[in-house]
């Protein structure tokens, strides 16, 4: 494929925002006025281009924002879009603590400074064997961790999602069997890898709530459930931290959860994936080792038995 070498194009060059806003307002009419005004009010987020972006067309914004696994808002894929509007994301603060020299509480814009934002077009592979391509806006997690000055004993990074049952119906449910809040973790070297980011936006705008607003993790070579949403705490630890899915079903979800077509989920194959937005008759895509990021990350796991550390 020929690469575009001219001036940097944005989504606004494809469809100017004024045009789609106008179109939406025209179609929806007066009934949808609150929606139109909210979109118009959404600030745009500018991200510098990055060499880590892939050269594939992103999944449509409509699909990215309407097909989500965010069990705090319900089990159906449509539930997050339906119910996440209730979540208050302003003000928001993230505690960074544990084995760091400079623990503290930070605002979203302290962690992901507007001037440091990058656009990262990444593949996302869900453990349920479907995939998308998402144009994230965010900052390398490594920069955030470095500023907190990790101590020599720090070997892992633990993350925690907000616990707010009054705003998150899934956390009130007697079903599910999940021990809230949702927690995730990475090895420190995985967290420091340049591909790992904290995202605050997608498609050039702040993250919609259903996608993990206001700040979430994105680790593109791991199954989507590792990329924890709506983070309120980042803790550097000496020991491997507990992770939600691993606690719930340890045989099915490991700590590492690297995308790997050769290691099946006990209940289904991971060899291929359905491409979201490709239509009913689109062929399945062969899943790639480390979701196609093997060149960049395989070194992190050299000598490790990926069947044992799934």
């Amino acid at each position: 494929m020929q690469r575009w070498t001219g001036p940097k194009l944005t989504y606004a060059d494809v469809t100017p925002k004024a045009a789609w806003l106008g179109r939406r307002a025209f179609i929806a009419g007066a009934a949808a006025l609150p929606l139109a005004t909210r979109s118009a009010a959404a600030a745009t987020l500018q991200g510098k281009t990055s060499k880590w972006s892939i050269d594939e067309a992103p999944t449509s914004k409509a699909d990215i924002t309407s097909y989500n696994n965010y069990y705090e808002f319900g089990f159906d894929k449509e539930d997050p879009e339906r119910y996440a509007g209730k979540l208050t994301t302003k003000p928001w603060s993230v505690v960074i603590d544990g084995k760091v020299g400079r623990p503290g509480t930070y605002g979203v814009e302290d962690l992901a400074k507007p001037g440091a934002l990058e656009e990262r077009i990444y593949r996302l592979r869900c453990v349920e064997a479907w995939s998308m391509v998402i144009p994230w806006i965010g900052v390398p997690l490594a920069d955030v961790i470095a500023r907190a000055e990790p101590e020599p004993g720090a070997k892992y990074v633990a993350f925690e999602t907000v616990y707010r049952p009054d705003e998150m119906p899934g956390q009130r449910s007697v079903f599910g069997g999940i021990d809230w809040p949702y927690v995730e973790g990475l090895r420190l070297d995985e967290a420091m890898h340049p591909l790992t980011i904290l995202a605050t936006g997608l498609y050039g705008e702040p993250l919609p709530n259903q996608n993990g607003a206001p700040i979430r993790l994105v680790v593109p070579w791991k199954y989507g459930f590792k990329s924890i949403k709506s983070i309120v705490r980042i803790t550097l630890t000496e020991k491997q931290p507990p992770t939600t899915w691993n606690q719930l079903q340890p045989r099915e979800y490991g700590f590492y959860a690297n995308v790997n077509p050769n290691v099946s989920h006990p209940r289904w194959s991971q060899a291929t994936e359905r491409v979201i937005g490709a239509g009913v008759f689109a062929p399945r895509r062969d899943t790639e080792l480390f979701n196609g990021y093997a060149d960049a990350v395989a070194g992190l796991y050299s000598g490790m038995d990926l069947r044992k550390y799934y």
Partner: protein, 216 residues
């Protein structure tokens, strides 16, 4: 009131159920073709056909308790409900083979041999097959009422397996599949208790049975 309802129902033919039953299958397939089933239309279509099959299987299991507990007689609609359940289960299977697995036979074989929830779903479909083939008046005559009834008790394990298939394929423990599962267990438990009672009554000597009638 119930009697009058039963009288009215007796005048209704069952053939419109087949037409009514075909509507969702066609409507959902049309929406899938038009790409109007959201981000993952294959999953949506597959799930919907499977869910309708399960609901119809459960509906068929409700006919007898409705008659014995409430007195509502819907027996003459049960054949159509059962046949439609089989058709939806078959459509669910076809969508899986065609649109989901895309006739990738080695992987389909692997799924059918290795993935318990798929094995269980497929077993349910296989159990329904002889029932669909013998859902005719001539088959009842050929088999005789008693043998036919015994054969059609396969609907119980088939429905149980279909419910298990649903619970087994989801992540974590969401409410919906568990509630279907609970409903199926309840319907089958009611039958188990009832047949045990009947069996006990049959085993009782004649004079006690007469007493029992007086008491009740």
């Amino acid at each position: 009131m119930i009697d009058r309802l039963n009288m009215a129902l007796r005048r209704l033919p069952s053939w419109p159920l087949y037409i009514l039953g075909a509507v969702p299958a066609i409507a959902w397939f049309r929406l899938a073709l038009l790409n109007r089933l959201g981000a993952d239309p294959v999953r949506a279509l597959e799930h919907e056909y499977g869910l309708i099959a399960l609901q119809l299987l459960i509906a068929a299991l409700c006919i007898t308790p409705l008659r014995e507990i409430v007195g509502l007689n819907l027996l003459r609609f049960r054949r159509a409900i059962g046949q439609l359940a089989f058709v939806y289960a078959l459509l669910h299977f076809i969508v899986w083979l065609w649109l989901d697995r895309q006739f990738d036979w080695p992987r389909i074989a692997e799924d059918l041999l290795k993935r318990p929830y798929i094995i269980v779903g497929f077993a349910a479909l296989l159990l329904l097959l002889p029932l669909a083939l013998t859902s005719t008046d001539s088959a009842i005559r050929r088999l005789g009422g008693a043998r036919w009834r015994r054969l059609h008790r396969l609907a119980y394990p088939a429905t149980l397996l279909a419910g298990l298939h649903f619970i087994w394929l989801v992540k974590a423990w969401p409410a919906e599949p568990l509630l279907y599962g609970a409903g199926i267990v309840l319907l089958l438990a009611w039958r188990a208790v009832r047949s045990r009672r009947k069996g006990a009554r049959r085993a009782m000597p004649q004079k006690f049975r007469a007493n029992e009638k007086k008491l009740s």
